[in-house]
Symmetry: D2
Subunit: 168 residues, 4 copies
């Protein structure tokens, strides 16, 4: 009997302060992740992409994991089920990335960029969802490690392709 029920974990990164259309996309992304039976993991805070994606996943019955910068579980979004308190500030960004099978980076600022940079350095698959980072990570795009998506649906397809290719 197979007892290992490790689920696919999708890390959804993105800014705390965001445009309405990015919020909508993050919500939809979260709901699609949940419908696939995948776990949604993010930075846990009650704002921006984090809150929207967690709400989307929760509304579709998904499981949400938040890796918090602080020590207080009550600082998490109410839509986060599993609250990991690191007390390590931005060093928790590394944990976000390492704990994800695939990272989807929504629009954000310096914090989000640090996460996708560490993800690529750690050889994680990264999908940019409507997040323009210029030519900065082109070497990873050429390798196929970094891809772009214009809609949450497209991002999900990209994850599925990756999981199939890597035999998951």
């Amino acid at each position: 009997m197979r007892t290992d029920r490790k689920k696919v974990v999708i890390g959804v990164m993105g800014g705390g302060t965001i445009a309405e259309k990015d919020r909508d996309a993050a919500y939809r992304l979260g709901s699609l992740v949940a419908r696939q039976g995948w776990i949604l993991l993010n930075g846990g805070r009650p704002s921006g992409i984090m809150e929207a994606s967690a709400k989307g996943a929760r509304d579709c019955g998904g499981t949400t994991v938040g890796i918090l910068p602080g020590t207080d579980p009550a600082s998490a979004s109410e839509y986060v089920d599993i609250r990991i308190c690191t007390g390590m500030g931005d060093a928790r960004n590394v944990i976000n990335v390492l704990s994800s099978d695939v990272v989807i980076a929504c629009p954000g600022s310096a914090g989000t960029i640090s996460e996708l940079a560490i993800a690529l350095k750690s050889r994680k698959k990264v999908i940019l969802l409507n997040f323009d980072v210029g030519a900065l990570f082109d070497q990873y795009a050429r390798e196929g490690l970094l891809t772009r998506a214009e809609t949450p649906e497209e991002a999900i397809e990209s994850v599925k392709d990756f999981l199939t290719k890597t035999g998951r």
Copy 2:
């Protein structure tokens, strides 16, 4: 409508190399944690107290979270559902403790002692389950932060008392 469904998280700490009776107690502790509807959190590795407590929780339909020292989710016990990869070695002990509402310390060695020391320093409730640490943390015992239990059942009662007192 209340959307916050944050569950109580019980951190179960203890050694990787342990006696048979401690393994049995850890398994029973895990199953009791799951039956209460609490989440079991531990260090995630496939050995000792970690493996036994995760298996106990899993066998009773519980959710298990493992905070791993390394970067590879496959290094986790098969009984761990949510695998947090820190890549931080023993610094992850701090995360184990901060992410738990109550810490139950089973017999272990230096690693387990570091966890209960950090837990007490962080003002977390700690229950020693058949783990004799001498007089080392007596000041915390006098405050009621550190208590002792002889059976998993007693440890669970102690957690319930604590949760009632703190209004959880």
Copy 3:
């Protein structure tokens, strides 16, 4: 009597695999940092910008500090005097940045980008030395937090201006 002799700490970030001209610039930068009586701090490893900048500082009698990803002090560049072993992998990038008064980013790849992103998020002054990051951090450039330099000498002038302005 003033006993506080905290020196200015300059974090020099940059890639492990680099072009010859960037190596030369990093060496010169290190030597100029030392001549100012500043401490040079970097990621500690014996390659690329890290090794070159540490050697430059050392050759001019400076003090060099390396924040290592691993646990073995012997993994450091021989030009690093103070070896901090974190055992935390890339999470040490956050420590590099937080421990520096000013960060100078030389050409590098994803690791270096993660460091300058975290630096800017932490509101640290960052100087890009011949490192083209496109328009990605333009909001910080507009605030004056991020500036550009074409030579090590120019970078040093930029640090001095910043220290004067902030009363150091």
Copy 4:
């Protein structure tokens, strides 16, 4: 020509709130460490064993390194030369230990105990200076990894023995 001038690093751990005689011993210990030409490393804060040992080392012309829990270098003791800001709270205890060649543990509470536990787990030599930890770490004492000293002078002799034996 040998360019590696890595000095021996002695980690001095101990409580923030301490008895007068322990403060005196920590000061003397710091001054003896400096006279040996060793670097003194501690938790960096301006209290207890940390402050006293750093002052002792500084007064004898030594170099002092402080690994701070927070992000502000100004939170360090004035006697700390090199201030490493981790922003990681108690997770910095692991860095204290990993960065030291030998750990000397002076009287302290839970934080100090966590440090000596992690040190022993990491197979570091630990010397207890008038710090009674009961029988808790006896297995390490039997291996010779943990030894006891009653005076700073005795602790220094113990460090020298260890360095000789390990060919340093």
